[in-house]
Structure formats: C-alpha cells, structure tokens
Assembly symmetry: C2
Homo-oligomer: 226 residues x 2
C-alpha cells in the first residue's frame, strides 16, 4: 500500500482565523501533520507515507522546518514530500491513477489519530475502506479498486460510497471517533484538548487554550492569554 498525506501549507485552516492568527494557523497545521505522520510511523505494517503538499516545505538540513519565526518543529528527514499545487481531488486522483498498488489517503489534520485507530483502516481488505469525517467528509480511505476515484467536494463520504458502488467495489466503513475528528473549526479544538496526546494538544496548551464549559451544556477551548 502507498500512503499519501495531503497537506496545504499556504494559509491553512482558515476557519480557525477567529482564534489563531495566520502564523499560528501555519504552525498548528504543521504540528497536526507531525502528529499524523508520527501515528502512521507507529502503525504496524504501514510503510512510510508521502506528504502530498500544495507547496514546497522549507527544509533545513535533513529536516523540514516549520517557519523562520516559529518553534523548532521538524519532520523526520525520512519523510518524502511530493508537491502538487492543484486542488485536493485531482492531486489525489493522479496518485490513484499512477499506481496499481492500493493507495491510502490520510488527512493531515487528524490530531486524534492513533496507531490503534489507523490499524483498523488498514486491517480491512475491502476494495474501498472509508473513515468518515465530521460534516460528512472522508478523513481517511484505502482504495484497492483500480477504477475508484475521489471527489472531496461537498458530502464526500456519501459520494465516495456511491462512487465505490458504481464500480462494483466492496466497501468497508471504519467507525472511529478519532479518525472522524478532523480539526477545522474552533469547536474542534476542544476535542484536541480532551482527547489528544500528541504535539497538537501540547501546542494548544502552550498557547493558553483550556477547556471551559458554558451554561448551555457546551464545552469550548478558550484562550487564557498570559
């Protein structure tokens, strides 16, 4: 299986603009990518992934570095990076078309991903394995059928299930809250604080984010500025 982690380093996580400034959003996106790569590296039987990036990532010596002004966040020098500046859907479909091997696509913002959760994605031998994301997205998938293609626009989980059926591919769905939790909106940060055990949770705590309950049964990540 080839493992691909799509990543966009340019103005990432724009829906977090209300709580993080642009440099922070770049850092946070990078930290979540590091968590996903770390979880994959500890998942039994899964080969080293390729980061499919929309732009070059800065490399400093053997490592990928976050940004000039940021903390010394580094990706292992073992990480392969392929640059494709097109939107997600055509970039991933080119990967699917370019190989006869199974391809796994794991999103870079799954800050709660663990080897145990990822193992369930790779354990199924269905033609198409889907891990749904919130907001009816598709957070991770494995495609073994040569004719299956992705379409990440809109309700992609529903579309991917239909696309698999259209090519007579068998489908398995991974029922994981960790894989379902992509981090796009301010409300998602509470999940990272509550359930995360990696660099992204640490990063939020270092920036002053804590869990706070409101009077209406809601729980939010709020920032206590130092």
């Amino acid at each position: 299986v080839e493992v691909v982690v799509p990543f966009s380093p340019t103005d990432p996580k724009s829906r977090l603009s209300r709580v993080l400034d642009p440099a922070e959003r770049r850092e946070f996106a990078f930290v979540m990518l590091a968590d996903v790569l770390d979880a994959l590296s500890r998942t039994r039987g899964v080969p080293a992934p390729t980061v499919l990036s929309t732009a070059e990532l800065d490399r400093d010596g053997d490592a990928l570095e976050l940004s000039r002004g940021g903390d010394a966040l580094e990706l292992s020098r073992d990480v392969d990076v392929t640059v494709d500046d097109r939107p997600l859907t055509p970039a991933v479909n080119d990967v699917l078309a370019s190989t006869a091997d199974p391809v796994a696509v794991v999103m870079a913002d799954l800050a709660l991903a663990t080897p145990t959760a990822l193992r369930r994605l790779f354990a199924s031998d269905a033609d198409v394995v889907l891990a749904p994301g919130r907001r009816v997205g598709t957070n991770a998938l494995v495609a073994r059928h040569p004719d299956f293609r992705v379409d990440y626009h809109g309700a992609s989980f529903v579309d991917h299930r239909a696309a698999a059926a259209a090519v007579d591919a068998t489908v398995s769905v991974v029922d994981s809250n960790r894989l379902a939790t992509d981090v796009d909106e301010p409300g998602d940060l509470a999940e990272v604080l509550a359930h995360g055990a990696g660099a992204a949770a640490d990063w939020l705590r270092d920036r002053g984010f804590v869990l706070e309950a409101d009077d209406d049964g809601g729980v939010h990540a709020v920032r206590r500025d130092a």
Copy 2:
C-alpha cells in the same frame, strides 16, 4: 448488566429550535429513542433496557405512543419506564447506588447507534467503559466499579476519566464515531442523513430534509418544504 436509557420528553432538543418546532422536536426525540432501543435490542448479550424518563410517557394499550397528533410511533410494550424528574446526574447516580450489578447508561439521542457499535461498549471488561461524545461529552458508559459516580455537566468525558482514576477503576474508551454522534444541534442532522439507517433518518427525510453542500466546504441538512 442493567441498561438505562435516560430520556426527557419535556421540551426536548431545544438547540434544534431553529429548524424544528416544539411538536417536531418531541417527535424527533422520541424517534431517536426508538432507534436506540431497537439497536440495543439487537445487540447480542444485552438485556432489555429501562428508559429513565423525566416524565410519564403516554401509554396507549400495550405500547407507548408518541403524541396525540403525531404519527403512530410506538415503543414495544416490553420497554420498562422509570420516572425520575430530577436532573440527569442525580437520577443516574441513584441507579448506580441502587445495585451491585454493572450499569450501562446509553443516551437516547444516539441516532447512529448500531448493534456493532454498541457491542464494543459491552465487550470491554474494564471497571469503567466510556464512549465519548462530541463536545467532550459522555454518550455511553458501563460502570462496574461500586464507587464510580457520574457528572454529566460540562466536559463530562474528562471528568468521568478523572472520577474513574480517583476510585482506582480501570478505564477503557470506545473509539466509535457512531456512539460519539449525539444529535443536539442543527449541524448534527447532516450526520443522521448521511449515516443513519433507522427511524430518525427516515423521519428527517419525510419532513423534507436533504444534504446540501455550501461553497465553504460545509455540508448541512436543509429543509425543502413541500
């Protein structure tokens, strides 16, 4: 194990007021309860649950009926109902204190619950088994430790994990998106339409709800009035 499903028939699901009128919210809450009870009844090795209701449910003959004006929704006559008009936390803690048996507490708004997902809750033999919900809640749990008590206010998943540790109870967490998806807010309805296979999904479709994507990557349940 004793299985308890807390339910509030009085002005339920108030955060859905923007999209459902009061009578519709009562119906929808009842339909989700029916789905949860149905999924439990099909889960191997799980005894018949008791509905822990904050108010009497109308009974018509042998069945529980939805409402005078509503559709003929009925709960099986086999369903036991206990009425306790106190808030959720003390009502559940009284159940925990009243028995030496393990107690499972499964929320009534888990419209995506399936026997496969519920089976994972009951399969663990930890002292405390927690299925987290979105917004850092606790959507289902099994308590086998005599000193464990619940507190559903605020970030209950974090609090329950700490409460289990405080009484030296072993903890297991069920990583299920289906159990994590409680239906409280308009945004949750899209998940029911995409992933639900029960009465709640049918009920939404019958009322004209369909999935619609916006230009910002969001997917919503919107109502097409006839």
